[in-house]
Amino acid sequence: MSARRLRRRLVSGLMTTLVGVLSFVAVLALAVILGYLVVKGASSLDWNFFVKNPVPAGQAGGGVANAIVGTVIIVGVAALIGLPIGIGTGLYLAEYGSGRFGWIVRFVADVLNGTPSIVVGIFAWTWLVRPMGHFSALAGSVALAVLMVPMIARTTEEMVRLVPHSLREAALALGYPRWRTSLRIVARTALAGILTSCLVGIARIAGETAPLLFTALGNLNFSSSILQPMQTLSLQVFTYGTGPFDEWHRLAWAAALVLMGLVLLLSLTARWALRSRHGAAR
């Protein structure tokens, strides 16, 4: 009796320790990455880094203003294209997608979700860059939007599905047409969740590099034209990180830190938005 009890306790303690250590390792990875970025990059962060454009190779100083602006523009345009399509698809799937067509859309979204981003980049190159004859930020935005749509669609669907069926019925019984029930009642109720999934989606594509290599290409100068090649932080990290100069490596670390901070900020905002809304609902 007591021997068995002892064994149980032992195994229980052992397993608890094991999963505890494993979680610690998982968290440690993030902590190490963040810590290392701060150690290597923080010293290069100054005012100039944010407001100056890159200087010719070999010279000291300069910043990544062009990449920061570029990231905002490319990701912004991608969101402008991707969010409406993604949210609309998600809403459709949750509210009307019980038939065969819904099944197909869901399946395609899942496949697209698992598609390596570099493949999407190649397609954007084939369909946009080649016909246009030159690399452009717009092509990059489209590639990112394609990556974003299935992600947003599926998470939006999940969020909308969380809305109790009784609310739908209450609206319909009140004489709401179906489409108005979907928009005014169901989507409104799921709004915090939908916004969160948007922020997470934006955070996810903000760090993408591979699809931009074939599309936005990168640009060592400042450019705000979406029809021209444009720099992003991720491309900056790639170019500078693989370049031959110490100065470049230093800037790459700093750019990586800024990018990481940006993504972290978006994720935290998403969490905060979800929590504060849900907290109020309870």
């Binding site: 019980s98 009784s166 609310l167 019925e169 319909l172 019984a173 004489g175 109720t189 609902a281």
Partner: protein, 258 residues
């Protein structure tokens, strides 16, 4: 059932059968609901009483696989007629559900106004007046008049249910369907809703589904007993409870099954 000769017939189900796919859950039910009366629908769980109620405002057909044969007449007109828009119909037949379903993103005021706004064509002042009237009729006005702009979720369960009644009343329906409206309420909340039924029947025709026999006895003028999808018996409440015509009814109301 024989309603009094002077009573106006508001709602009538004629040989109504409700199905899920090929399974009939309400079978060939014909019943009259006189205007300005409360009719209780009783019966054990799964007897089809909720489904029957949902046929009256064409909510049943929104369920997966739900369809009906037979028909329902509202003021003599067939509500299942091809020319009838179910959305419009539901504005004439209000419904309140088992659990309170306030719209969580809306304020108390907006909840009550929701059914009015979807109709459109009313000025601010008219909506204000209609909201106040509906809240008064639902006996909630005094409790919420100072916090109309607060979230509807701040209300207690009983208040939320009365809010849902107010929301159903605001568009001025002719008929009010109550689907076990007190199932999730405490005794005090239940009592308030029952008192409301007495008040409201002066203006509306009420059909209330309940599994609580005492409640049926307290609130209704007529009672219909459903069993396994069949309408076993319907009659004046005091008669049905004191001298039921059917053995099944007697067995149920004396608590021998259910």
């Amino acid at each position: 059932m024989a309603p009094p000769a002077d009573a106006r017939l508001q709602l009538e189900a004629v040989r109504l059968t409700a199905l899920y796919g090929r399974r009939a859950v309400v079978k060939d039910v014909s019943i009259l609901f006189p205007a300005h009366s409360v009719t209780a629908v009783i019966g054990p769980s799964g007897c089809g009483k909720s489904t029957f109620l949902r046929c009256l405002n064409r909510m049943h057909e929104l369920s997966e696989g739900g369809w009906v044969t037979g028909t329902v007449l509202l003021d003599g007109a067939d509500v299942y007629d091809a020319g009838v828009d179910p959305v419009q119909l539901r504005r004439r037949i209000g419904m309140v559900f088992q659990r309170p379903t306030p719209f969580p993103t809306m304020t108390i005021y907006d909840n009550v106004a929701a059914g009015l706004r979807v109709n459109g064509g009313r000025s601010r002042g008219e909506v204000d007046a209609a909201v106040e009237q509906a809240l008064r009729r639902a006996a909630l006005w005094d409790e919420v008049k100072d916090r109309l702009k607060k979230s509807a979720l701040d209300l207690s369960g009983g208040q939320q249910q009365r809010l849902c009644i107010a929301r159903a009343l605001a568009p001025e329906p002719e008929v009010l369907l109550l689907d076990e409206p007190t199932a999730s309420l405490d005794p005090a909340g239940t009592q308030r809703i029952e008192e409301l039924c007495h008040e409201l029947k002066r203006r509306y025709t009420i059909v209330i589904v309940t599994h609580n026999l005492q409640q049926a006895g307290r609130v209704s003028d007529y009672t219909a007993f459903f069993y396994l999808g069949d309408l076993v018996e319907v009659g004046r409440t005091e008669e049905l409870f004191t001298k039921p015509a059917q053995e099944q009814t007697e067995a149920y109301i004396t608590g021998r099954f259910g």
